[in-house]
């Protein structure tokens, strides 16, 4: 299931503004890759180019290649809708569909993709909620609105919704920044379990979090405000946090700026 991502020479724009420039990297399957860097360095923008969500923003466009197991996401004839089906995403703020029940939220992606029998849906919903460590908390109120859950539960509901369609890759855009420490811990544990099945890319502001959950870490930076963000280096998380090869990374990690 999990696929490798190969990015080469990727540049993304908002209108005429260049947000990130010439990024190349490889994301290994069945691993967690964390993006760190100061605010505005383009790590979220880069994440959103990996499932073609960037172009949803008015004026957003991309140059370069993103290969998902040898297939270019930006190649001719590629349907962005299918791309997003294969590359799931979890957002900064939990965003369950407010008018849907917990069950319907998890089933939403499946219902888009054809006719499932009620029993099949139930199986997948249960499996996904269990996968997101939420089943025990909500199994008695599957028909209640998802907006009634706590923030951390909502975020796990969103993860369940994303993994219900069995994507190859799971992108997480600062999934814990709106959550309290206990909910954050629950999500971090969950990430550790999910990497058995999915390729996971996570953007985080929290360097401890990157150190805790990720196998590899990429550091992004920008020369000055208004300049495009660039990938400074990507390496094993242990190396990045102990002995990075670029001075800027070390400065950032040791808290000298950012």
């Amino acid at each position: 299931m999990a696929k490798r991502i190969d990015v080469s020479g990727l540049t993304a724009y908002y209108g005429t503004h260049k947000a990130i420039e010439d990024i190349s990297m490889t994301v290994e399957p069945r691993s967690v890759t964390a993006f760190i860097g100061p605010s505005g360095c383009g790590k979220s923008t880069f994440l959103r180019t990996l499932n073609r969500m960037h172009e949803v923003t008015p004026g957003g466009r991309v140059e370069g290649k993103v290969l998902l197991d040898d297939e270019d996401l930006y190649g001719a004839g590629i349907d962005p809708v299918s791309v997003r089906r294969e590359v799931g995403m979890v957002f900064q703020r939990p965003n369950p569909f407010p008018t849907m029940s917990i069950f319907d939220n998890v089933a939403a992606g499946l219902r888009l993709n054809g006719n499932y029998k009620k029993s099949e849906l139930q199986d997948v919903v249960e499996k996904s909620l269990k996968g997101a460590n939420l089943w025990n908390e909500v199994k008695d109120r599957l028909n209640k609105p998802g907006s009634g859950l706590s923030g951390g539960q909502q975020q796990r509901l969103c993860i369940a919704r994303a993994i219900a369609v069995e994507p190859n890759v799971l992108l997480m855009d600062e999934p814990c920044s709106a959550l309290d420490p206990i909910s954050t811990l629950a999500i971090e544990d969950l990430i550790g379990e999910l990497k058995e099945r999915f390729t996971i890319v996570i953007v985080t502001h929290n360097m401890q979090q990157a150190a805790r959950v990720s196998d590899r870490t990429a550091f992004f930076n920008l020369a000055a405000v208004g300049q495009p963000g660039k990938l400074i280096e990507i390496d094993d998380t242990e190396r990045i946090f102990s002995n990075p090869s670029v001075q800027a990374t070390e400065d950032y990690i040791s808290g000298r700026f950012g």
């Binding site: 998902l68 297939e71 996401l73 004839g77 590629i78 349907d79 809708v81 299918s82 791309v83 089906r85 294969e86 888009l112 993709n113």
Partner: protein
């Protein structure tokens, strides 16, 4: 290597119809519709259009469903319908503007604007809307003089002072007032006039128009006052400035652009009201500069009366259209200026 049998089909590469396909389907549908139309000898071009439209939608769905799948087909149909709805609505609205301009320019000239009807008969050419313009300006002006201060002050009360039951009641009834049909406002003033046995006069119309205008102004002013950041008020109060001076010197100047816009939009709305004027002002072919005594003319009322007396053609009919064009132009200019002010004074925000 190349003999690997199981090359999995791409899941990303959904089959897509080429970009030109909608045009091709449209052309095909039109051709078929013309064919059917000529063959079946359908006289109405509207029917041809309907056939073409129906064919287009059905064939788009069928073709897209085959090539791209049902979900994409549905998406295409939704896109079609949304565009169709838009075009459908554009037709009458464009026609309205077009017809008004086309018919209106026939007799609209300086003479028309500067002369009144006097004894000009309905079938005769000549005459004009001078008395109607005077009447409208006076009635709308007086209505604004009454409605605007009351509306703005009420909004100030609601935003700056209002808490508790009184302000809740006012908010509720302002909403209710917004929904009052203009003719009911006219009937209310009429019932007062019946009580004191009064004859129609311009100011009676102003009162009804003021009733229609107040809730609109309260609403828009409220919105504008709420946009003034609390920090500004607190900064002023903390300097020891009394509250009323804070409102007059800090809050109102900050929001004056938006409030003006709201008042002008309200003026534009009541300037076109016919029903209350019909009941209260009565209309007058002669110039009456005194809004407090005697029947007055009014622009929207003039349009209605000229139309009603024209039997759908002739000099009076042309005058009705010319007056319509004048009224629309007045309302539009007021609108454009109001929105110009709003944009010019607007605090700069994104989106």
């Amino acid at each position: 290597m190349s003999t690997v049998i199981d090359k999995r089909p791409s899941t990303l590469r959904g089959a897509r119809l080429p970009k030109w396909s909608p045009y091709a389907i449209a052309a095909g549908s039109a051709a078929v519709a013309i064919g059917v139309g000529t063959a079946a000898d359908l006289a109405s071009r509207v029917q041809w259009g309907l056939i073409a439209g129906l064919l287009f939608i059905i064939s788009t769905y069928v073709i897209a469903a085959r090539v791209e799948g049902r979900r994409q087909a549905k998406d295409r149909i939704a896109t079609c319908l949304v565009w169709v709805a838009f075009l459908l609505a554009v037709v009458p609205l464009v026609s309205l503007i077009w017809v008004t301009v086309e018919r209106g320019v026939k007799v609209l000239d300086v003479y028309f604007l500067t002369h009144s009807m006097g004894v000009v008969a309905d079938t005769e050419v000549g005459g004009g809307i001078y008395a109607a313009i005077i009447g409208s300006l006076e009635q709308v002006g007086l209505a604004t003089l009454i409605g605007a201060p009351i509306g703005v002050l009420t909004a100030i009360y609601l935003v700056e002072y209002g808490r508790g039951n009184l302000s809740r009641a006012i908010t509720f009834f302002v909403d209710v007032m917004t929904g009052i049909p203009s003719i009911v406002a006219g009937l209310f003033i009429l019932s007062l006039m019946l009580m004191w046995d009064m004859q129609p006069f311009g100011f009676a119309g102003s009162l009804a128009l003021a009733i229609l205008m107040m809730p609109v102004i309260v609403r828009s002013t409220e919105e504008m006052l709420k946009l003034v950041p609390n920090e500004l008020r607190e900064a002023s109060l903390a300097l020891g400035v009394p509250k009323w001076r804070t409102i007059l010197k800090v809050v109102l100047p900050t929001s004056i652009g938006g409030i003006t816009t709201g008042i002008m939009l309200a003026v534009a709305r009541i300037a076109g009201e016919t029903a209350p004027v019909l009941l209260l002002v009565f209309g007058n072919p002669f110039i009456n500069n005194n809004p407090f005594e005697g029947a007055q003319a009014s622009l929207p009322l003039y349009i209605y009366q000229q139309y009603a007396n024209s039997a759908g053609s002739g000099a009076a009919y042309d005058r009705a259209w010319a007056a319509s064009l004048t009224l629309i132009a007045f309302v539009m200019i007021l609108n454009l200026v109001a929105r110009g002010i709003a944009r010019w004074k607007a605090p700069k925000t994104g989106r």
